[in-house]
Symmetry: C2
Subunit: 347 residues, 2 copies
DNA sequence: TGTCATTTTGAAAACGTTTTCAAAACTATT
DNA sequence: AATAGTTTTGAAAACGTTTTCAAAATGACA
């Protein structure tokens, strides 16, 4: 079928060992032989069989990427970052998505076993045991946005807690008190962190019991749409809504618009992630920008370095990447509140 | 290092040939040996080395995906479709993006050579010669949205021409005559098709010379933003704008909003692709919905079938997938036009 | 029990590389 | 010119499978 090293050797009039040496630049060979080997290889369009190479324990050149169900701009941005870094370090990307349960993860990892040199894993829904079983696969791993014990692997998380805290503080600073939160998937670590940030900010203002302000949700616009229905029925009605993420916020905006509730004047709305389209919603959305492309880039770069590092003696890094509050027109000061006014007039 | 077939053979007390036979279910082996082989394989957690397997000319299980640099939701939706189908057919996805020039493409294909069983290629900017060189790589290939001579490969294009035609006809039907078009990348086949559809619709209305209505652009919101600046300076001013795609339309909306031009009353705006966020723009965007996830799914399914098909005697399919005009609030009837009124009063 | 056909099995070749080892070809030194 | 040292080279082993081939074991039948 294909051109093999034997064909090159025959054409160049040398042994296959010599061809290998020239092509891998591993030992000195006489200049004239070297030339004819290169000439022969080019003429025949030879390229080494990757299977034969990796059979000898060489690198495959692949980086495996395991992601939860991919949707929306967030993942497009992430993938762009991953791919750019992979390109830069001479790797290719093997991608698998839609993993939630531990055994699905394990199956995917087994499928990638010995086909890749390392793994990028983003699995906010994975528990400690799941993480452990990934680590025990013997692969080099870089985690993104996943709950991993510090020191056990390279981790690049973004500051879900801090982002939610800052966002909630922003709304509190605008005078909002009844701030509804649409929560993400209950099993997801990043969602839990955002809830924690929200509660911390609320508690700072003396609002300890937020149970009636928290609504179940997902990272989808449908979930935002549905949750908004419940929020609008709450009494007294919240004056602000923090969505699980930007996609969810889009559903909130849509539901509010249908219900004839004006944003931001009747209700303020905020998202999370900072995807590009938040600039173009009606009104433009206040959100928390996550540098997800950059995170992807750095995760791959770091993984590539670790793969290169034969000795494996580089310490693991755990990093929480800062996020940035982006205030747009969807959040303004709360109206003088009828409930508060009532309280004031009776006082 | 890893567990090999020899370890399994030793534990089961048989030869490696027998292990291979049991695991691949290729020849009958005695039930008791079969049992102990399976037991041994499970106990040791054995899985065959993929490199050794593909070295013997077996399938790799990989499907390569070559895409231009794509951002945003379009990409995510495509990827979802690709991944779902890959999963369903037991393949994994090897992804490379950011290809424009023929030599970049060739480099990427060489990188995937013998690592994948087939290729999904979406390359609207590729010319016939580039397509030919991909085909000559000897891989099974499914093209998406690429200019390929019918019969030479499996192709799944969506109806760029028809979509642009319908969209332009829609605006003409609303009474618009000065319809500006922001064009996509000049080298891209899909962009050219959209221009062709636009021109065809305009010509039907007797508007043959559209040069002054066509503006250079890209598939990005920045390009839409910039082009809108030029469009607003045109005299007489267009009453409608067709953006290169939805991302581009988002930039148009943003620029018009900044300039204080009301949409849809002063200017109607339309996009192309039908990404989810077009539901949430201000106002919701009229667009052409492309079933890109489904196209991705089908491209992979078809490729998987072709890979399976040992004889290679299945005829290639060329299919143009229909698209759907989605009318939303960003396009309404043209106002009575001052230019037309002037012409009428002098007549 | 001996012969023949059939089923089951293992040894060995093959896939295409890289790498080890030892031989061969030089070069320098005496 | 012989020797020692160095550089360059090729043969062969190794990586982990699948598969071919022939041998061994089994079963059927006379």
């Amino acid at each position: 079928m294909g051109i093999t090293i034997h064909d090159v050797a025959r054409r160049a009039g040398v042994s296959i060992s010599t061809v290998s040496r020239v092509l891998n630049d591993t030992t000195a060979v006489h200049e004239d032989k070297r030339r004819s080997v290169i000439e022969a290889a080019e003429a025949l369009g030879y390229s080494p069989n990757p299977a034969a190479r990796s059979l000898l324990g060489k690198k495959t050149g692949g980086i495996g990427v395991l992601l939860p169900h991919v949707g929306g701009e967030f993942f497009a941005e992430l993938l762009n970052g991953l791919d750019e870094a992979a390109h830069a370090s001479g790797h290719f990307l093997v991608i698998s998505t839609s993993y939630r349960h531990r055994d699905e993860f394990n199956a995917a990892i087994r499928a990638m076993d010995r086909r890749v040199d390392g793994l990028i894993v983003m699995a906010p829904e994975l528990d400690a045991e799941g993480v452990a079983s990934i680590l025990s696969s013997g692969n080099a791993v870089s985690f993104i946005n996943t709950l991993v014990e510090e020191g056990s692997a390279d981790v690049l998380n973004f500051d879900n807690f801090g982002g939610a805290l800052a966002l909630t503080q922003h709304l509190l600073g605008l005078g909002h008190r009844r701030i509804a939160l649409i929560k993400g998937p209950s099993g997801a670590w990043d969602a839990q962190e955002r809830v924690r940030g929200y509660r911390a900010a609320m508690a700072e203002e003396g609002i300890e019991d937020t149970a009636s302000l928290e609504f179940e949700g997902e990272y989808t616009s449908i979930a935002g749409y549905d949750a908004t229905g419940a929020i609008l029925e709450a009494v007294p009605q919240p004056t602000a809504i923090i969505a699980a993420n930007d996609d969810c916020a889009a559903g909130v905006l849509s539901a509010l618009s249908e219900a004839g509730v004006s944003v931001p004047h009747a209700v303020a709305v905020a998202g999370f992630d900072g995807i590009p389209s938040t600039q173009y919603t009606l009104p433009p959305l206040t959100t928390v920008r996550v540098p997800i492309g950059e995170i992807g880039y750095r995760a791959v770069s770091r993984l590539a370095a670790r793969i290169e590092d034969q000795e494996g003696e580089v310490a693991t890094q755990y990093e929480t990447v800062p996020v940035e509050l982006v205030v747009r027109k969807s959040t303004v000061a709360a109206l003088p509140d009828s409930a508060d006014l009532g309280a004031a007039s009776t006082g």
